[in-house]
Symmetry: C2
Subunit: 269 residues, 2 copies
């Protein structure tokens, strides 16, 4: 597998970045993980739009125009049929400290991974003791609370965490957006989240009315069924929220959505 | 200048880390910046203690026992008389995503910088529009609000930012702790801060009574004099807080503290 590092392709063991890079020193950058099906990136334009928002948020001056070509090149080079492309942009190299004066050119890193072969089972989530930090427009490298919430979930034999904000509103998991059904309606938080591209697809494809709002655990407790969405898991049913002991079983409507998503990915809609 | 990267010393242009390292991918690590005077690290034990707290917070299993030897070796190799050593520890390499399962060994990076020659003038601070994130025990790589607050300050021609928490309490700057005088008393925030090693030295050395507490901008407005502390700036008087238009001129007591700190550093107390 080859990786793209600042204009050059290198094999995995030689794909390296300077220790002076602010991505490494300070988490100073943003990234996108893009689903690849049949060798094609799914919803690439949405990812590029979000990456531009992240770079604007970080005040990193890097255009994304050349990325689609690099992404298509690396998919071909690494023969990725089913898998993922990860694009990262950092502010570039500088001395010690946060000061962004005298920073070099932004770094651009593009990598691929093939899809795993194990089929995921309905997930257990862990209610995080970490608070969701302030809203970020996209995937920012330095997002330590989400990361620590994931580790906490894994320590408790759960796949992922569920994070609330400072006002106890439900936000998202460390890596995915959350949805739930109550009757025929589909609910999902509207604030304190990264707007996932699979979340966007679900909202676009859903035959069930979608309600975007601010919700608390009291709302989730009433849910008939719960699922999470991201590019790695697609639409993944949630069976438990621990340590609260909440359980959900009825995944019929979730399966309908999963089939619609699959059709959309296969049609690259 | 040589840098230490996972057991090997490399020249600056060859000091690189895998793009798979979670420090680079996710800001998943901690660091310390240590002052060097006359070739000796100042308050090294305090830094190692804080680094251990950071690693515990991140649940990264890496001992710090061998660091003092590496630090002394690199100071000698790079002939650092006056300068800084930066020690970074990351969780190591893994695949895409936050999951910390199947992570390799922690990465250890040690670098040096020589002190600048320009004498710093009393600083202008910028009241940050970014909120201080949840308290962290030490210097965590992924700390994006502090980083963005520094960039915002620099855009406004200020040296550094001043961050408040969600309850409008004064915390710290992006890179330094804050102190102020009111009469003979010295005040400094006690919560929402990284406990800086120069802050500790000031508290230890101060002949003025030190009051650690929770304070707001109303308290700072009454101050006779303000200064900030970190290993790069030592004790640096603050002359303005913008955009509030607050100004301070009386740096007499601050200078007394700066002399006491200098004596302590020279004596390696």
């Amino acid at each position: 597998m080859q990786s793209y590092v600042n204009g050059e392709f290198h094999s995995a063991d030689k794909a390296k970045i300077s220790i002076r890079d602010r991505g490494f020193r300070l988490g100073d950058g943003a990234f996108e993980t893009i689903l690849v099906h049949a060798g094609m990136p799914y919803q690439l334009a949405l990812h590029m739009e979000r990456l531009e928002k992240s770079l604007k948020y970080l005040k990193i001056k890097a255009g994304t125009k050349k990325f689609p070509k690099i992404i298509r090149t690396i998919i071909a080079k690494n023969k990725i049929c089913e898998g993922f492309v990860r694009v990262a942009v950092t502010r570039g190299q500088s001395g010690f400290g946060y000061s962004a004066k005298n920073t070099g050119n932004p770094s651009i890193i593009v990598e691929t991974e093939k899809s795993g072969t194990t089929k995921l089972k309905p997930a257990k989530l862990w209610l995080s003791s970490y608070m969701k930090p302030l809203p970020m427009p996209g995937k920012i490298i330095g997002n330590i609370n989400s990361l620590l919430s994931r580790i906490e979930a894994e320590e408790n034999n759960c796949l992922d965490s569920l994070l609330l904000d400072g006002e106890e509103k439900i936000c998202e998991t460390s890596s995915a957006n959350i949805f739930w059904f109550l009757g025929r309606k589909l609910f999902t938080p509207k604030s304190g989240i990264v707007e996932g591209t699979i979340r966007s697809a679900v909202i676009r494809l859903s035959p069930f009315p979608v309600v975007r709002g601010d919700f608390t655990l009291a709302d989730l407790k009433k849910a008939d069924a719960v699922f999470v969405t991201n590019v790695a898991w697609g639409i993944l049913p949630v069976k438990e929220l621990q340590p609260l002991g909440l359980k959900w079983k009825n995944h019929k409507k979730t399966k309908i959505l999963a089939q619609l998503l699959e059709a959309d990915i296969h049609g690259m809609g």
